[in-house]
Amino acid sequence: MIYLNIVGSFNGSLDGIPIAYKDLFCTSSLPTTCGSFMLKDFKSPFNATVVNSLEEAGAIMVGKTNMDEFGMGAANVYSAYGPVYNPQSILFDENHFEENDGERRVAGGSSGGSAAAVASGMCFAALGSDTGGSVRLPASYCGVVGFKPSYGQCSRWGLIAYANSLDTVGILSRTVNDAQIIYDVISKYDVNDSTSITPEVRSINSSIPSFFKLNSNTNDLRGLRIGVPKEYFVSELSESIIDLWKKGISYLKSHGASIVSVSCPNTRHALSAYYILALSEASSNLARFDGVRYGYRNEDSNQKDGLIYADTREIFGKEVKKRIILGTYTLTAGSYGNYFLRAQKIRRMIKSDFDRVFKRPNPLHPIKKDLKFDDDNKVDVLITPVAISTAPKVEDCLTTNVNNFVNTYVNDVLVMPASLAGIPAISIPFGVSSIDGYPIGLQLIAQYGDENTLLGVAKVLEKGAN
């Protein structure tokens, strides 16, 4: 399958570069399973737009990577094809883990396979998808860069949807520069994606000044204002993560940036809003897997009255079923107003939280000015932790304990607000835990469309990694 260009002509900016794809990007040459038995032998008749863009630039697909089934999970233990193990644990102590799988650390999810592939050096970079932290969280756990661009920058055509209004193509790589190289190739308008940022908005966006120009490479942060949102200081944060967060702030300050405490008061609602919206959309998206065209049908139970599809959906994993049921419930006539509409309202409030703290206007509604907030208090980027802890153990994530049910969702609390607002965010490996030695990432968040500033600051931050 690997195509080698023996003629020696130049095929593009990524000529011969090996790339891995999360198994929800449609590829016509390899199956696309979404980590589910439902799509066990599914081969898409077409390539995702981002796959085509990378191949046109000369990249080579080295393979498809494991993931939580349909993107539903934060630890990558919910794949029908088995969990993804954190490559760091293999590096640490190979023998120990052969005896006890449960002791191994997870890679994080849902793009765990992509993060692990990059961390273990299997490829130059990998594409993942970020719906509520699915690229940033595994990046933090595995010690690699995880970049989620603004919603609509990279085409979702051929990305099998989990929650369409949140799904974003994400990039996992070893350095920010590598992420930027991939991003430059896949960030463009696609007529096949109705939610792709239009050329008009792209041109409005590039006319708005940013702190950093395109592909900036300077360490001088004088004049840059970095916000520390106080709501991200959640009680679940582990000591070593707080330490590293502080170190990151000091490091950026040492390069001339001024540090401002800011407030995004609606952050505390993000988790519940996220789970209502994402699961509602997921329950809808997965309706097409009805056993007529995908999966299989149980011939014996076909005649069950009224439940004509019930038996075909047993192929879904437990977590997917749980989320379908929750999402179905939030869309029923009796609960739509109480759940879905309120969650949408919270989502708008979270967006305006960010619009208030960022100096740069949002290109989607550039005229709107909030006069209540002083320009002096506004910032260029935010710095926060990515995860509340280092990579947990596989057995801790697989527990069926009821109390753990919500706890596994709490893991996403720091990454979800940027997903709900559709704004760009990146996880930068900044050090390791003083307790267990596992990697920790820091998150930078910027205004919608301000990838230049985000990546510019990220390049400075990664140099300070411990």
Binding site: R156, I160, N164, T195, L331
Partner: protein, 509 residues
């Protein structure tokens, strides 16, 4: 892979039959007994666009199964719908023509239910914010109603059509054809302003004419490009509205009217027995001329409407509206009045012309420098008839206006009789592209118009039949037609009847 899918056979199928019991029933009788019926319509019109609503595949009718299906229409994972601007444009034009309020912002929603011919598991429609609100259809004597009344439009929404489930081809197997999947539909919902089956029938007919005039839909109920659901309730005058029942899938105006009448009758009978009407969805059995229960409110589906996250809101600007408004063709009521005044033809003739898309344009082209009465008769009686016999739709009519005009001219000059004219027209309908004069020439159909020649023939017949001449002179005027017949026989029907008439009258009277 998914073309022919074996699924369960539990889907009940309404027996299709073309027999129809015409039991005479008049809702007016009921009005006299103080009952009133409240009727509202939900009409689905297929948008007449070349491409489907959210994909680039062609719309089709009667194409080989599963040939016009893209990955979007089949809801392959990873696909994203993209709205077709032509479908939006035609819906906006329809809204404007119905005096609707086109909304500056509307959006699409997903309506969820499982059915094998709905590959995504949801239909994309406009539930929360439809593209147009309000509007009306005015029924008047121009439409064949004795009085004038307004049927208000509640809303117009854009949605996608489903695929087709084909039952009964093989027992126990349902086959799926996705050619129709994703075709654009306009759903036009009326307020409950209709009071009789006649008003309901006229409303649909009027809408059909409007859609065809605009070119926004074929509006053909038999072919399924127009489908109608109807809500019916009855109550005694002066009391609040009754509970309504919805009758689904009525596929002709005749059945729509019949279903309304029997449903009114059923509901009144129930109420008279002291029973309550429960809100339910019913079907109409054509053979038995009865409605029957499909599902009750308790067993109805919760569609779990959700905004479609893959499609941005539909923004309609003033400029866009103005542009569409300026391209609207002449609307049916204006057109009726103008045609009746300008050409002095009857309302009946005008309606016949308007019943076929392009009929009026054809008439107006053909009638230039010709007698409109003759032209309209030739179109609505002869041409429509021959096309119908030969199973040709008017939009595929092979006869040009020059050709039809040439027949009328040939009759006018006396070259042929009307009878021969029909033979010429049949020739043209069968594909002959020549003008009337060329066809007459080749076939030798030209009439005898030579006065001298005809005089000789007539005189001969009269002198050879003195007995009949005697009878005529004695007052048996009926025998006159016999003489005409003899002349026609002699001339192989080529004699100009008017000249024959003149000559015979001259010699007999």
């Amino acid at each position: 892979m998914w073309s022919f899918v074996k699924i369960i056979n539990s889907y009940s199928n309404v027996a299709k039959s073309f027999r129809y019991n015409t039991k005479k029933f008049s809702t007016r009788d009921l009005h006299q007994k103080n009952w009133e019926a409240i009727i509202g319509l939900e009409i689905h019109a297929q948008i007449n666009s070349k491409k489907k609503l959210f994909s680039n595949s062609s719309t089709s009718f009667n194409e080989p199964v599963n040939t016009n299906v893209s990955v979007i229409d089949a809801a392959f994972p990873g696909t994203i719908p993209r709205a077709n601007s032509k479908c939006i444009e035609l819906t906006v034009a329809t809204s404007l023509a119905l005096s609707g309020n086109v909304q500056s912002v509307s959006f699409f929603d997903r309506k969820h239910y499982f059915y094998p011919d709905l590959p995504a598991g949801y239909q994309i429609t406009q539930h929360y914010a439809p593209i147009s609100l309000g509007g009306k259809i005015t029924l008047s004597p121009l439409d064949g109603l004795e009085y004038e009344t307004d049927v208000r439009i509640k809303q117009i929404q854009i949605e996608q059509d489903t695929g087709k489930s084909i039952h009964d081809v093989r027992p126990g197997i349902v086959l799926i054809d996705l050619n129709r999947s994703g075709t654009g539909l306009m759903e036009i919902v009326t307020e409950p302003d209709i009071r009789s089956s006649k008003e309901a029938g006229l409303t649909v007919r009027k809408l059909q004419t409007l859609l065809r005039t605009l070119g926004s839909s074929d509006g053909n109920m038999e072919e399924g490009s127009l489908r109608c659901d109807v809500n019916v309730s009855v109550h005694e005058a002066g009391t609040p509205f009754g509970t309504r029942c919805e009758i689904k899938n009525l596929n002709s105006i005749k059945f729509l009217m019949a279903a309304i009448d029997v449903e009114i009758e059923r509901q009144i009978a129930e109420l008279k027995k002291g029973r309550a009407i429960s809100q339910e969805t019913r079907g109409y059995d054509v053979t038995a001329n009865k409605t029957f229960r499909l599902r009750t409110k308790e067993t109805s589906t919760d569609y779990r409407y959700m905004p479609e996250p893959d499609l941005p809101s539909l923004i309609i600007t003033e400029d866009y509206l103005t542009r569409i408004y300026n391209t609207l063709p002449e609307l049916p009521d204006d057109r009726k009045r103008r045609l009746m005044n300008q050409y002095n033809i009857s309302l009946h003739d005008v309606m016949s012309l308007m019943h076929e898309g392009g009929g009026v344009e054809y008439f107006e082209e053909a009638t230039k420098n010709r007698n409109p009465h003759h032209v309209v008769n030739w179109i609505t009686h002869e041409l429509y008839g021959l096309l119908n016999i030969n199973n040709i739709k008017f939009n595929n009519n092979p006869v040009t206006t020059q050709q039809l005009g040439s027949i009328i001219d040939s009759i006018e000059t006396g070259d042929i009789s009307a009878k021969i004219g029909k033979k010429v027209l049949l020739q043209m309908v069968s594909g002959d592209k020549r003008l009337s004069s060329d066809i007459i020439q080749e076939k030798g159909w030209k009439q005898l118009t030579n006065m001298n020649e005809l005089e000789i023939i007539c005189k001969n017949i009269l002198s050879q039949n003195p007995e009949q001449v005697q009878q005529y002179k004695q007052g048996n005027k009926n025998i006159y037609r016999w003489f005409v017949g003899q002349v026609m026989k002699e001339t192989k029907s080529k004699a100009n009847p008017k000249l024959v008439n003149d000559i015979l009258t001259k010699y007999l009277d």
